[in-house]
């Protein structure tokens, strides 16, 4: 069966129903210690059935893998049975109106051939790393997911989303320093592992010695990957209903929200746009299961550019159609990319370093966890690259450190904004969002403890 036939089969028979078929193909390659350690190609197909029973609730069943007509019928029956037992959801709404987009087109696919260029570059990276006594590790993945969204109300939408990850970590032989670089690999032809390796190798120059740091407050330049991870956490907390309930950093003191409040003087804008150049993502809403800020009844909604923070002011929170209607606020669903930008500037990360008198350059963040959700207080560690900057130059490397910070508070302490560039959030790199972020200069960044890692 084709994906379209599976969707149509799921919609056969009476009832209000949404069928989502995701056809996914993935090729991956993993390496460590200058040798390949894993690889694979995976083809799979997932059907999600969302049944809505008027006067009752909704039932959601998803089946990945073997999908014949019997399996589809069984999934529909299970979803219907669940919906009949469920309580009416507060966000109940008629299913979206008819619309069609690329429905008849076949699914897109990928294979290991997409990573042929990466293999060729890796041979060279391994040779250079061995010659310098370094150890290179990393991962490359290319994926194509084609989503077919159909409903008993007439939706027939298709979207093919290329995606991917390319990251490289290099450790010095004596393990006294390491570096990391990561990028989105939606277009494998753009992969340039050698450039990534060269950039890391320059920072691992053996002439740059280790510097011991003490816990305290430092001026820090966060590389774009760090900013991406922090903004994803910030955006994750930006749900209207949860904020109105008083549980997020965007909850207002009087039971409302902080919408309209200036969060930073840095004139930063955080936006999502399905048509963002180089960061394209689903142009319509796909909700496979209900959750915070996500209503199954919003499936198929066309998405347009939305600013979450406009020129430093909190402008929008994530809303469902239901939340928007009950509050009178705009309907602003979640979108699959995030772009942070500041006042027009061409300053690169290296140029920010060059204008730093005394500070730290942080390459990537890791193990970010919420310590206090109501304040969005995160704890986390730096990873693979804390560099000491003096007089505009990187003069040494330091151990990683633990920090406790709130991304919203950090925005208020931004003193300089670089040029946004596509980046891979290291912790959220498994494609929660595609991101373009600037490097940020932040004052009084708190190191709460020094870690033994480098």
């Amino acid at each position: 069966m084709t994906p379209q036939e599976i969707a149509e089969s799921a919609l056969t028979g009476p009832g209000d129903r949404i069928a989502i078929v995701d056809e996914t193909s993935t090729a991956h390659l993993r390496w460590a210690g200058n040798a390949v350690t894993g690889n694979g190609v995976v083809h799979s197909r997932t059907l999600t059935v969302i049944e809505s029973v008027p006067g009752a609730g909704i039932g959601v069943v998803s089946r990945e893998g073997a999908l014949d007509r019997d399996a589809v019928r069984a999934a529909v029956a299970e979803a219907r049975a669940t919906a009949r037992r469920a309580a009416p959801p507060p966000d109940a709404h008629p299913l979206p109106t008819a619309a069609e987009r690329d429905w008849s087109r076949p699914p897109a696919g990928t294979s290991s051939a997409a990573l042929a260029g990466v293999v060729g570059q890796l041979v060279e990276v391994f040779d250079q790393a061995r010659a310098r006594g370094e150890s290179a590790s990393g991962y490359a993945e290319h994926q194509l997911r084609t989503t077919y969204l159909a409903s008993s109300s007439g939706l027939r939408l298709r979207h093919a989303q290329p995606d991917g990850v390319l990251d490289l970590t290099v450790h010095r032989a004596d393990d006294t320093a390491s570096g990391w670089v990561g990028t989105d690999l939606a277009d494998p032809a753009q992969a340039d592992l050698l450039a990534g390796y060269t950039g890391i190798a320059a920072r691992l120059d053996p002439s740059r010695h280790h510097v011991d740091l003490s816990p305290g407050r430092y001026e820090v330049i966060l590389a774009p990957s760090c900013v991406a991870d922090l903004m994803i956490h910030l955006h994750g907390a930006a749900d209207l209903q949860e904020s109105l309930a008083g549980g997020t950093v965007f909850s207002g003191p009087d039971g409302g929200t902080r919408l309209g409040e200036r969060l930073t003087e840095a004139h930063l804008t955080l936006a999502s746009d399905p048509a963002a150049p180089g960061l394209g993502c689903l142009p319509f809403t796909v909700v496979r299961a209900p959750g915070p800020g996500a209503s199954c009844f919003d499936n198929g909604t066309p998405l347009r550019r939305t600013e979450w923070i406009s020129d430093g002011t909190l402008a929008n929170l994530v809303t469902t159609r239901h939340a928007a209607r009950t509050t009178g606020l705009p309907f602003t669903p979640r979108i699959g990319n995030l772009v942070l930008s500041g006042p027009a500037t061409d300053r690169t990360l290296d140029e920010l370093v060059a204008s730093t008198d005394h500070g730290l350059l942080v390459t990537s963040l890791w193990y970010l966890r919420e310590v206090d959700p109501s304040r969005l207080l995160l704890t986390g560690v730096t990873r693979d690259g804390v560099h000491v900057v003096k007089g505009g130059e990187v003069v040494g490397t330091a151990h990683d450190f633990r920090f406790d910070e709130c991304p919203v508070d950090l925005l208020a302490r931004v003193t300089e904004v670089g040029r946004p560039e596509p980046t891979l959030p290291r912790e959220w790199g498994d494609r929660e969002y595609r991101t373009a972020m600037p490097a940020l200069r932040i004052e009084d960044f708190t190191l709460s403890a020094v870690s033994g890692a480098v």
């Binding site: 390659l29 390496w31 460590a32 210690g33 040798a35 390949v36 894993g38 690889n39 694979g40 190609v41 995976v42 083809h43 799979s44 197909r45 959601v60 069943v61 998803s62 089946r63 990945e64 893998g65 073997a66 999908l67 299970e78 049975a81 669940t82 037992r85 469920a86 309580a87 290991s112 293999v119 041979v123 391994f126 150890s135 590790s137 991962y139 993945e141 990850v165 490289l168 970590t169 450790h171 990391w180 299961a289 959750g291 890791w366 193990y367 970010l368 310590v371 206090d372 109501s374 704890t379 560690v381 990873r383 990683d400 633990r402 498994d430 403890a449 020094v450 870690s451 033994g452 890692a453």
Partner: protein, 506 residues
């Protein structure tokens, strides 16, 4: 490195008379395996394995007694892993047919050829041939319980809590998982296994405070929610009072404290600082770019002092109802148990057939696991547990010996650096201990330490009466990332002079 391994597969392998997945299904799986393995052999693979899995997950969430989310998902697929001319290749497909099995074998060999310019690996260590069928220890399959009945139980729990003073909202959920796995390889091993696990969880909210049950995920069936293996009635009864006490908690004064850590909190510290730190693939740097490495070095086994002599940590895939308990791993290796830390010294590690030689072993300890057939098997943690002290004290006795400390119950946030060194943990409940007595709850408590310093501060350990088993069912690792479930047993334990921060900043 001479790690001592106890082969205890017989201890856990409860072999039912018939296949847990049905004889017809198993016969189909064998035909698919034959197609795949024959294809791999013809293409020159020296080692090849075939897996056919179905992993079903049911999640039911109630908010204030009403069903909020009911989601049932299943992942079915087949995969082939080959070792061809010294290179591994993996391919998987969601299409479960003989043709797909053959094609997938061909693609796995293609993958090995594709990567041949990037280095070769040693041959995997051998394993005796097994032909086994096994089912985990559950009585009532949760998927056999009508969803309405499942919802009724959670609704009753919610109603009971909502009636209590101070409780404004209740979120109750249960996640149930059934794993059916078939494995076969060119050596002749063929195994069929079914595992079931459940994880109920209730969160109560009042004022600006929340409190979560500590009852763990477990390798049991629906009987667990009815009180078999955990006293839910007692925990739900205590929850409102603990919530009210937490609402009135006093901010902790930052400093160093003696920590009395309950098993419901300590299991996660064991998981992060011992479990992951002793995975050999991390030690070798295989996770350097993602999940992280370890402060443990390849030559440390047998000599590294990990903690005080009170510390003995075991690894096993055999504990009844353990989340990592199996009869055979995903490379066809029989389940075993062994020591990781004995009397405070590192004596073992975790490895699979690919990495065993590096450990100086001639046989794998059976740590290979894949979340489904659509993922390659990688080294994953077995059940890792801290042994109690023979004839050791009760929790009350441990608390009574502390002059100025904190008693921590239930896990909350956690974070550890990429070498499993510096960490920070918080708890569901933090009780002040003053002159041997509990003296009210504290807020903002986060303890921060380094793995070896922390275990080097272990000063007292509870007896068998304090020992309880907890665990994680969403532990992520690998690229592509995959999750695993693992149990950790431990007694109550005391750690002297641990740094405590106040996350509220006061």
């Amino acid at each position: 490195m001479g790690e001592r391994v106890r082969d205890a597969a017989a201890g856990c392998a409860r072999r039912p008379r018939s296949s847990p997945t049905g004889s017809r299904t198993t016969a189909t799986a064998r035909l698919l395996a034959e197609a795949a393995l024959d294809g791999a052999r013809r293409l020159g693979a020296r080692h090849a394995s075939f897996r056919l899995d179905r992993v079903r997950t049911g999640q039911l969430v109630l908010f204030d007694g009403s069903v909020h989310t009911a989601h049932d998902s299943a992942v079915t697929g087949l995969s082939v892993q080959v070792w061809h001319d010294g290179v591994w290749g993996f391919a998987a497909s969601g299409e479960v047919t003989a043709r797909s099995a053959r094609d997938t074998a061909g693609r796995a060999v293609d993958q090995a050829r594709f990567c041949s310019a990037l280095g070769r690996e040693e041959e995997p260590v051998p394993e005796p041939v097994h032909d086994g069928t096994w089912s985990s220890g559950f009585r009532i399959n949760p998927f056999s319980v009508p969803e309405a009945e499942r919802a009724e139980l959670l609704a009753a729990w919610s109603a009971r809590l909502l009636a209590a003073p101070g409780v404004e909202h209740v979120r109750a959920k249960v996640v149930a998982v059934q794993e059916d796995k078939f494995f076969a390889d060119l050596a002749g091993t063929s195994t069929v296994q079914r595992r079931v696990r459940v994880h109920p969880q209730v969160v109560v909210a009042g004022g600006s405070t929340t409190l979560r049950t500590v009852g763990p995920p477990t390798g049991r069936g629906w009987e667990y929610l009815l009180g078999e293996g955990w006293d839910w009635d007692a925990e739900l009864a205590a929850l409102p009072g603990l919530l009210r006490a937490k609402q009135h908690a006093r901010p902790v004064v930052p400093g160093t404290y003696d920590l009395v850590i309950d098993p419901s909190q300590l299991w996660l510290t064991i998981h992060e600082s011992v479990g992951h730190a002793t995975e050999l693939d991390r030690v070798l740097g295989h996770e350097a770019s993602y999940a992280g490495t370890s402060f443990v070095r390849p030559g440390d086994v047998g000599g590294l002092r990990y903690g005080t002599p009170l510390m003995t940590v075991t690894a096993d895939r055999t504990t009844p109802h353990g989340l990592a308990t199996v009869a055979y791993d995903d490379q066809g290796v029989a389940a075993q148990s062994w020591d990781l830390v004995r009397d405070g010294v590192l004596v073992g590690s975790q490895y699979d057939r690919r990495t065993a030689r590096v450990a100086g072993a001639t046989r794998s300890v059976g740590c290979a696991f894949a979340e489904s057939a659509l993922r390659p098997a990688i080294t994953r943690m077995p059940n890792v547990s801290l042994a109690p002290a023979p004839g050791g004290p009760t929790t009350e006795e441990l608390i009574s010996a502390v002059d100025d400390g904190i008693y921590l119950v239930g896990s909350d946030s956690w974070s550890i650096d990429a070498r499993r060194g510096n960490f920070q943990f918080t708890a569901q409940q933090a009780h002040r201990v003053h002159r041997g007595e509990l003296a009210g709850q504290l807020s903002g408590v986060a303890y921060q330490s380094d793995t070896r310093a922390f275990w080097g501060a272990l000063s007292a350990i509870g007896g068998a009466g304090t020992y309880q088993v907890f665990g994680a069912d969403l532990c992520g690792k690998g690229q592509p990332v995959q999750t695993a479930a693992v149990s950790h047993g431990c007694p109550t334990a005391v750690f002297q002079g641990v740094r405590v921060r106040n996350t509220a900043g006061s």
